[in-house]
């Protein structure tokens, strides 16, 4: 990747700068209607605007410097586990209130377990079962978390 080329590019820094600029701009946009106010009587938008401005400035500096630093690659990435985890957690978030603890937890554990490339179906089944029972006792009965147990 970057290591073989002569171009000076620090890819982690480019990513960092881009993230900071992007989030700073998003913050400025989200707070566009807030009153800025003055130093003595700060409006609700004063600090968010100032801080987002700083975030963009710092992001810009990091981004520009990245083109003058020795090359550095982002490093090997494998986003498959992250994607699987996102799907598993999103399902849990969606199912928890309506379908209850058992359904959402089994979804979370079975799908989530697939994030490991070494996962085996037999192990997943056993651990999902054990953890669901354990969780039901500890969280729902023991700690009294307000979540229905079953969909009906």
């Amino acid at each position: 990747m970057a290591g073989s080329s002569n171009l000076k590019r620090d890819y982690p820094d480019i990513l960092a700068g881009a993230v900071m600029i992007g989030l700073g701009a998003l913050g400025l946009w989200a707070g566009r209607d807030l009153r800025f106010g003055t130093g003595a009587a700060m409006g609700p938008g004063f600090l968010p605007d100032v801080l987002c401005g700083m975030l963009i400035a710092i992001g810009g500096y990091v981004l520009l410097k990245a083109f003058a630093k020795p090359s550095e690659a982002i490093g090997e990435s494998n986003i498959k586990p992250l994607v699987i985890l996102v799907v598993a957690i999103a399902g849990f978030a969606f199912l928890a209130e309506g379908f209850g603890f058992v359904v959402s937890t089994i979804w979370l554990l079975v799908i989530g377990s697939l994030a490991d490339q070494d996962s085996r179906w037999k192990e997943i089944a056993i651990s999902a079962l054990l953890l669901t029972v354990f969780g039901a006792f500890v969280f729902i009965y023991g700690l009294g978390v307000q979540m229905p147990m079953l969909p009906f």
Binding site: P12, D13, T38, L47, L55, I58, V62, A96, I124
Partner: protein, 502 residues
């Protein structure tokens, strides 16, 4: 005599059966996660944070504190036995500890590490007991201007002492501060940065950010590649160190304790920085520096004492000033807020049982850890064989249920995804998430006091330099930032951290 009285109060609180139990659970959990690679104290505290909502306040704090210092003990076990540091702070322990294990002296290394940690923990706890009341009575005179400067000092110092690029860390602080402003502004009542979502009116919950950045993101990066597990080199050998080994290590323990206690107080300090500094101190002072890296017992004793002392003394700024110095302390602050306690100088005065109970429990916890670690070492070694694929589903479940239980809604769990992905990207971008968390917890304090200070001074920013304490804090901050520009110090800092990344 007053000191004795409050200490008695502390022990009477810490010695109640339930609090002893929480202390034991914390110490045990800490050791467990210290031993298991792939899950650290930061993630564990983040995950257990919602659970503490169901516990009494003191019990919750005792347990979370136990996890933190317990992990310092456990982390060294794997570092010595299999050359796999369970925690970042145990990385240096692995250098000489593992070499000792290869020579059949693992037992002695483990014993010195545990005894040194216990000694250091005791000293640092006494330090906390002495410094606490002094510092907090001093901080009671702080006005809004002082608090603004203190926040700025704390946040910027934390970025300098943290790993990696200072500029990026300051960016993370800004991002954290912005995230802390989401929700309804208390002064004007207008909603800020909520993107029209009514669920965000109360702001983003601290637990959501902590679990996303440290829990989910950590699982995702742990699962990226097949895990590498170390192999147990040899038998542990005789636990009791020889007379010669004692002689070589007692001074190192004393120095490590001093280094750790002092560095732990600094913002951004804590266990890891203390351990690295202690190692370089030992190597510099040693008459036989060539032995380091080949099983020098001083190279185990110093850092181990230092990381434990640092872990304890990093509670000082949180409990006296209400300023967390690292991400675990930020989470302790979150736990206190969940229970309606505002950390700061008034805690010692208004809720002495909380402060002294925690201090007393720390010493008890350290004593328990000695027992948990030395005679039971065999159990922990066997636990090393539990594969991560069996662990992470349980961690995932704790994350999700925990976050759900804060407000009993799926929305927060969905929000965790956002921060999990952000945390993953930040790891790829080599940005530390710690400063973000510090910014997030300090944001409201900073904003309230900044507004108040400028309102009182009618918009005159000179108020921050006219008040002596505030001016001193800002001067120190400016001094620190200046030293970063000086090339020699920059190089030194870089070397220190590069050594730590191996």
């Amino acid at each position: 005599m007053a000191f004795f009285d409050v200490l008695m109060l502390g022990f009477s609180e810490a010695l109640t059966p339930t609090n002893l139990l929480f202390c034991f659970i914390g110490a045990l959990l800490g050791t467990l996660i210290g031993v298991l690679p792939g899950i650290g104290p930061t993630a564990t505290v983040a995950i257990l944070l919602p659970v503490t909502f169901f516990l009494p306040p003191l019990g919750a704090l005792i347990m979370l504190a136990g996890i933190f210092y317990g992990a310092q003990y456990g982390g060294s076990t794997t570092a010595i036995l299999v050359n796999l540091p369970g925690e970042a702070s145990a990385v240096v322990t692995a250098i000489d500890g593992y070499q000792m294990a290869r020579k059949g002296r693992a037992g002695a290394a483990l014993a010195i590490a545990a005894l040194g940690s216990f000694f250091a923990g005791t000293v640092a706890t006494i330090g906390l007991a002495i410094a606490g009341p002094t510092l907090s009575s001093f901080a009671l005179s702080f006005g809004p201007a002082e608090y603004v400067s203190l926040c700025i000092f704390g946040l910027l110092a934390a970025t300098i002492l943290a790993h990696g690029s200072v500029v990026k860390a300051i960016g993370m602080v800004c991002l954290g501060l912005v995230l802390g402003m989401v929700g309804i502004d208390v002064n004007s009542g207008s909603t800020r940065l909520t993107f029209g979502s009514t669920e965000l009116y109360d702001g983003i919950d601290f637990v959501v950010i902590a679990v996303g950045l440290f829990g989910v993101a950590e699982i995702a990066s742990n699962l990226e590649f097949k895990e590498a597990r170390g192999v147990l080199q040899s038998t542990i050998g005789r636990l009791w160190p020889t007379r010669q080994e004692f002689k070589e290590s007692w001074a190192a323990v004393l120095r490590g304790t001093a280094v750790g206690t002092i560095l732990g107080v600094l913002p951004g300090g804590g266990a890891t920085l203390s351990a690295f500094s202690a190692y370089s101190v030992e190597k510099k002072l040693s008459k036989t520096p060539e032995k380091f890296g080949h099983g020098a017992i001083a190279g185990v004793a110093g850092p181990e004492a230092a990381n434990n002392a640092g872990a304890q003394s990093s509670f000082i700024p949180l409990l006296t000033l209400g300023i967390p110095s690292n991400s675990i302390m930020a989470m302790m602050l979150g736990a206190m807020t969940i229970h309606g306690i505002t950390p700061g100088p008034s805690v010692i005065q208004n809720q002495p049982e909380l402060f002294w109970g925690l201090v007393a429990s720390m010493w008890l916890g350290n004593a328990m850890l000695l027992v948990i670690n030395l005679p039971l070492i065999g159990i922990w070694v066997r636990l090393l064989k539990v594969p991560y694929r069996l662990l992470f589903p349980a961690i995932l479940l704790f994350c999700c249920i925990g976050v759900y239980s804060v407000n009993n809604r799926g929305f927060d769990v969905a929000l965790v995804i956002l921060f999990g992905v952000l945390g993953y990207i930040l790891r790829k971008a080599k940005c530390e998430a710690g400063p973000l968390l510090l910014g997030f917890v300090l944001g409201p304090l900073l904003e309230t006091n900044l507004r108040r200070a400028l309102l009182l001074s009618q918009g005159d920013p000179l108020v921050f330099v006219e008040r002596p304490i505030s001016a001193a804090l800002l001067l120190v901050t400016a001094g620190m930032m200046l030293t970063l520009i000086l090339p020699t110090i920059r190089r030194g800092r870089k070397e220190a951290f590069e050594a730590s990344e191996d």
